[in-house]
């Protein structure tokens, strides 16, 4: 009676878990993400991520480009809120070159950045809805993202990869149509957001799917380098707009919403609350912009001839403007020596630009601190022991953007 338990013969299948591959392209991942999971039934035992499928070597590319040519690269990081990336890059350059931007430019930028934040959170939250089985919200709010994209279009001519603004300000003044479209958005969107919230926030199915899944404590979140709404959902009130105000954010009144448990539900609530704050910030900024009268109301860029392209008619008629135009376009302007790290509050966290210049025309080194690259490492810990279907919700509620992650 030495062997009364069942022993499997040598070489037979002893594994009790199943290896499951999700991605790199899968409808549930909303981006190029691969996860190899060990599942026991529907429970996740462990998982291993593979990233880098759309790596495009932005940091190397940036080493050959003059500053203004790097803006289109930043578009392609977090493409759900590319204006924030563009502005973040311009603000980094301006800080580095000690350019003071006029207040009106700052306020216009705030309008654009907060619109971008709304469109970013809108996508993320409605996708969380899709992954929990509620398609309606997603289809409904898409219409309002369209309104935001029309505003972008009116200002810079493009919709997704915006390349909006220039070093020192904007490429042109906002048209009246742009402001009309902004007013239309401000009038219509709050009602929709209210309806969107009433579809989800107290929805029994939604709450049961999201509460208590994908949670993280504040200490772990900080140790994992979480930033943005994901960190705030865990209860840490860190917001770059408040801690290190840029673009005159100190002139605005807004609250920083925080959660407690850091789970999918809290992340959803924090993003919704942030959209309300963004609407309020846009209203304040719009009021401030309207308060400018006379010549002040026409200012849309700083006076920096070395970096801001002169007017086209001046280029054709004035020697000096022609010289600056040529020098800027050919990238013939040497940067000062130095290093700067400049963060902005992106759609999904602290987006940082670490710029090193050795005095040449292009950055010696440019490093992007991409928030979702850093917090995606926590994903195995967030989903361990949970259901497979919750892992899908967790992934979308983290607001992972493959373009930013892979840079």
């Amino acid at each position: 009676m030495e062997h009364n338990h069942i022993t499997l013969p040598e070489g037979s299948i002893e594994k009790t878990t199943t290896t499951l591959n999700i991605g790199p392209t899968h409808p549930a991942t909303h981006g190029v993400f691969q996860n190899i999971m060990e599942v026991d039934g529907e429970r996740i035992v462990s998982s291993d991520q593979t990233v880098g499928y759309i790596h495009r070597a932005f940091e190397k590319l940036a080493e050959r480009r003059p500053l203004y040519q790097i803006t289109p690269i930043t578009d392609r990081l977090n493409y759900c809120s590319s204006p924030i990336n563009n502005m973040g890059w311009h603000i980094t350059c301006e800080k580095f070159l000690n350019i003071e931007t006029p207040k009106r430019v700052d306020y216009l930028r705030v309008i654009i950045m907060e619109l971008a934040r709304i469109s970013d959170h809108l996508i993320c939250n409605s996708i969380v809805g899709v992954d929990t089985g509620a398609y309606t919200g997603f289809l409904y709010v898409m219409q309002y993202r369209e309104l935001i994209y029309e505003i972008y279009e009116e200002i810079c001519g493009s919709r997704l990869t915006t390349n909006i603004g220039r070093i020192g300000g904007f490429e042109r003044n906002f048209t009246n149509t742009a402001f009309t479209k902004l007013e239309k958005f401000l009038n219509e969107y709050p009602k929709v957001l209210k309806e969107f919230e009433s579809l989800f926030t107290r929805n029994r199915i939604f709450m049961e799917r999201t509460q208590g899944t994908g949670g993280i404590s504040a200490e772990r979140a900080m140790n994992y380098g979480f930033t943005g709404p994901n960190l705030r959902a865990a209860g840490v009130d860190y917001d770059v707009r408040v801690h290190q105000p840029y673009s005159s954010y100190q002139d605005f009144n807004f609250t920083v919403p925080v959660g407690t448990t850091g789970d999918n539900y809290d992340r959803f609530l924090v993003r919704n609350a942030e959209m309300w704050e963004s609407i309020s910030i846009i209203r304040q900024a719009y009021e401030k912009v309207q308060a400018f009268k006379g010549a002040e109301a026409e200012i849309y860029h700083a006076d920096v001839p070395e970096y801001y392209l002169p007017k086209k008619e001046d280029v054709y008629t004035k020697m000096e403007a022609l010289i600056w135009h040529f020098k800027i376009i050919m990238g013939e302007i040497d940067l000062p020596k130095g290093q700067i790290y400049c963060p902005v509050e992106g759609g999904n966290g602290e987006l940082g630009f670490y710029l090193i210049s050795d005095g040449g025309r292009t950055p010696f080194r440019l490093h992007f601190r991409r928030p979702c690259f850093i917090y995606y490492q926590a994903y195995p810990e967030l989903i361990k022991g949970g259901m497979l279907s919750d892992a899908v919700v967790t992934m979308s509620s983290l607001n992972l953007i493959a373009g930013e992650l892979d840079a």
Partner: protein
């Protein structure tokens, strides 16, 4: 707001003496250097010291200075004290021959992928890292692409004569 760059600098000098050097402040951020052997001691001190508490690792990246013989590669840490809202930049340098630098993964979980990225692009060997392999590039790659010895593609090259490249 009681903590400022001067206090941080004083405390570092009091603890590490002349091992920490090159203190500078640019755009409001304190930066300093130390030999790479004591990087963990410095990071741990900044983390644990009750009045410093740099407990948030913002970023790790590396820079390649081909002209600095013996210190060609520089690993840069950006740390943040969220309570006092003060940031600092700390760097250690290493040579191309011996790229060993101790890993910070025991202190910060977030350092895991940041160090993998740094290894991937610069070949810094983080000693003690739990899973030091390439992260964004393919595993088969046998060079470290962000080092300066790998130049960007020459726009005037003629070997790409394929029409599909637009140079037909």
């Amino acid at each position: 707001m009681s903590l400022n760059n001067e206090i941080v600098q004083e405390k570092l000098v009091a603890k590490f003496g002349d091992q920490v050097s090159q203190f500078a402040t640019s755009y409001g951020m304190l930066s300093f250097e130390s030999p790479k052997e004591i990087n963990l001691k410095v990071l741990q001190f900044l983390y644990d010291e009750p009045s410093l508490e740099f407990t948030f690792l913002t970023d790790i990246c590396a820079v390649n200075y081909p002209n600095q013989t013996g210190a060609e590669l520089v690993v840069v840490y950006h740390l943040h004290n969220l309570k006092e809202n003060i940031r600092l930049r700390y760097s250690v340098s290493t040579s191309l021959e011996n790229t060993d630098v101790y890993t910070a993964t025991k202190l910060f979980e977030s350092a895991n992928w940041m160090e993998r990225e740094t290894y991937d692009f610069f070949g810094i060997n983080f000693v003690g890292h739990p899973n030091l392999k390439r992260i964004l590039n393919v595993d088969e790659m046998d060079y470290f692409p962000l080092r300066k010895e790998f130049p960007l593609e020459d726009q005037t090259r003629i070997d790409k004569d394929d029409e599909m490249f637009g140079r037909g």
